[in-house]
Symmetry: C3
Subunit: 257 residues, 3 copies
């Protein structure tokens, strides 16, 4: 079945999301539409990229992801469509797609080359028709002119040495959990059987848990989450209120000699 | 495929929306249900009518729109169903349907004539079964007794003379954009090649843009939006916080002699 | 058609809900997914149980309800699946399922016995695959080892004597209506033609309405709602702001001798 997912910053009190869905259904009523989220903060590319990166691979290969976040972009940003890790993406070339995967895209086109539409609502007028075509099996090369590259933004990088891993909080989720960009893999390669200290704000911890139940309610739990990223939480509590950590806060793991 | 859209003021923390959907599915599991919004402010007919007017025509003709906003209505308001611009609508006769189109309805019936249900949850108990029947191809005349008229409310009117168009803000959207009731058509007929001034609050502007990229981030952008209505925004900002405008504020366009 | 409903406390700004849906679709793209709510307050079992109890019977028998609320549970809580009133439920054995029905479950299994997955995201990794299997017709006994009982919590009880019914507010809904646990049936058995007084906070009322239109806008309306539970509201207003009542407040009905 052809699936189109929607990820927007349009909220749910307006007609915008329904207009995108209606356009898709009007072109091809057989398409299954799945919401990823419409609660991305307006124009918050980092938020949207985090969510999309975290979930797109869960969908079947060939799924089309329509991204209506900062859809108008900056001056000169084109509407684009691309294939990446066997998924399709349609949206503005505003830097977002460079943040969702470390792999190179398979195909990339500019949608501007086949549309002359001037619109203040590209999600409905440009992205939706392109998404339907892709979901219906039309190939990218029939939808626009090849583009060599899309816009990249410099993402927050993890620094890893034999002595220390330095990362940062890349997402405060709805539960108040603090998700960092420190991957399980880097930790496992470097930690071996060494003693280590996790440090953030004024706090120091000596243990990474494997299960929430290793702590009591209200205690700090540090674990590699379902994305295999280091996450700091308060079991049944709101870590973001209690630990003095926020988006972009530094988190380090230091290994003893 | 039979489509029923839902537009309610029920929010998403309760069982109400799911109960309506479950009722529809239980009667006919083949129906495609699409949410328009459940974030209409309680009993806010103007908000609901704006959203419905903005989006219903995007859906395929024959779509059934179930409207659970101020569903209990005032004393004497009947549950009704109507056909309008080849779409079907089911809801309370509370004045909302008079605000969504300037065309005359094609058919109108009272659902009260075939139901004796006394209910505090008409969306589930009256509107949902009627919507399913309509979506399944049963005709309006089989669902109730013809009604000559539905309740009309006086909508905010635009005043247009050769010298000036006077309108007002009819919706502050989730981005903080201020959408007015001034249509592109009236402006185009009256402006010709005249110089004009747009005025609201203490502000005066001399240009209507055609593209967000004609202004820099943080600047005021004034354009005819995807609904062809005059809209005032701050590019990548929140106009409602910055321009001293709110729902119902007056906006004028004055033409130079 | 196979239906899986989702009820979670995950909110809508993250990837969690989409990840659960994507997992379901990836296993069986023919399944119809319906959201009950994702706006349950984190780990709020009472809120989730109220909503689920209020709506699950509206869905067709055989529907599978995936409950991702307090999904990690307390130490020792197992992932379970059960059949109850001809519906299926999958979630954590955290006490929630004991609150949704007064009937005894038909079948109950532990999902832990067939999975060795250690996960911080059981909704996606354990509940979703189990829900798909149930929706696809696989029987509970093929999914895990029978369990004799699930965890029960003591629910707030209504006390009813010939002289008085004493209940409490069990849910403040999105409109600000106060829904109590006093059932219509108890009232009808005890009231006969007696004069009665409804009392809460400092207020006393002598009438239970059958219709919102028996009061004027802004007045207090007391009726048995669509769940046949006593509900206290302000017609077109927000009772929770005006009546000094909140979750857990006591409400009594006293019958005159």
């Amino acid at each position: 079945m052809a699936i189109v997912t929607l990820l927007t910053d349009s909220g749910e009190s307006d007609h915008y999301v329904a207009a995108i869905k209606a356009r898709i259904i009007s072109i091809n009523p057989g398409i299954r539409i799945e919401d990823i989220s419409h609660k991305i903060k307006p124009n918050d590319i980092a938020h949207a990229a985090f969510v999309l990166r975290a979930v797109f691979r869960e969908f079947p290969k060939g799924t089309v992801h329509l991204v209506g976040v900062d859809a108008v972009g900056a001056k000169g940003d084109l509407p684009i469509a691309l294939q990446l890790e066997d998924h399709f993406f349609v949206g503005a070339d505003n830097g977002l797609f460079g943040l969702i995967s470390d792999k190179t895209h398979q195909h990339l086109i500019s949608l501007n080359s086949i549309t002359t539409i001037s619109t203040t609502f590209p999600e409905r007028d440009i992205f939706a028709p392109a998404a339907v075509k892709l979901a219906s099996g039309i190939s990218l090369s029939d939808l626009g002119k090849p583009l060599p590259v899309f816009k990249k933004m410099i993402d927050r990088q993890v620094k890893a040495t034999k002595k220390q891993i330095t990362g940062s909080v890349v997402r405060v989720d709805g539960f108040g959990n603090l998700i960092t960009n420190i991957p399980r893999e880097a930790f496992e390669i470097l930690s071996k059987e060494k003693v280590y200290t996790i440090q953030f704000g004024g706090e120091k911890f000596r243990r990474i848990h494997t299960d929430y139940h290793q702590v009591e309610e209200g205690e700090c739990v540090i674990l590699f989450n379902s994305l295999n990223m280091l996450e700091i939480g308060i079991f049944k509590g709101k870590a973001s209120d209690l630990l003095g950590l926020a988006y972009d806060s530094v988190v380090t793991i230091t290994f003893d000699e």
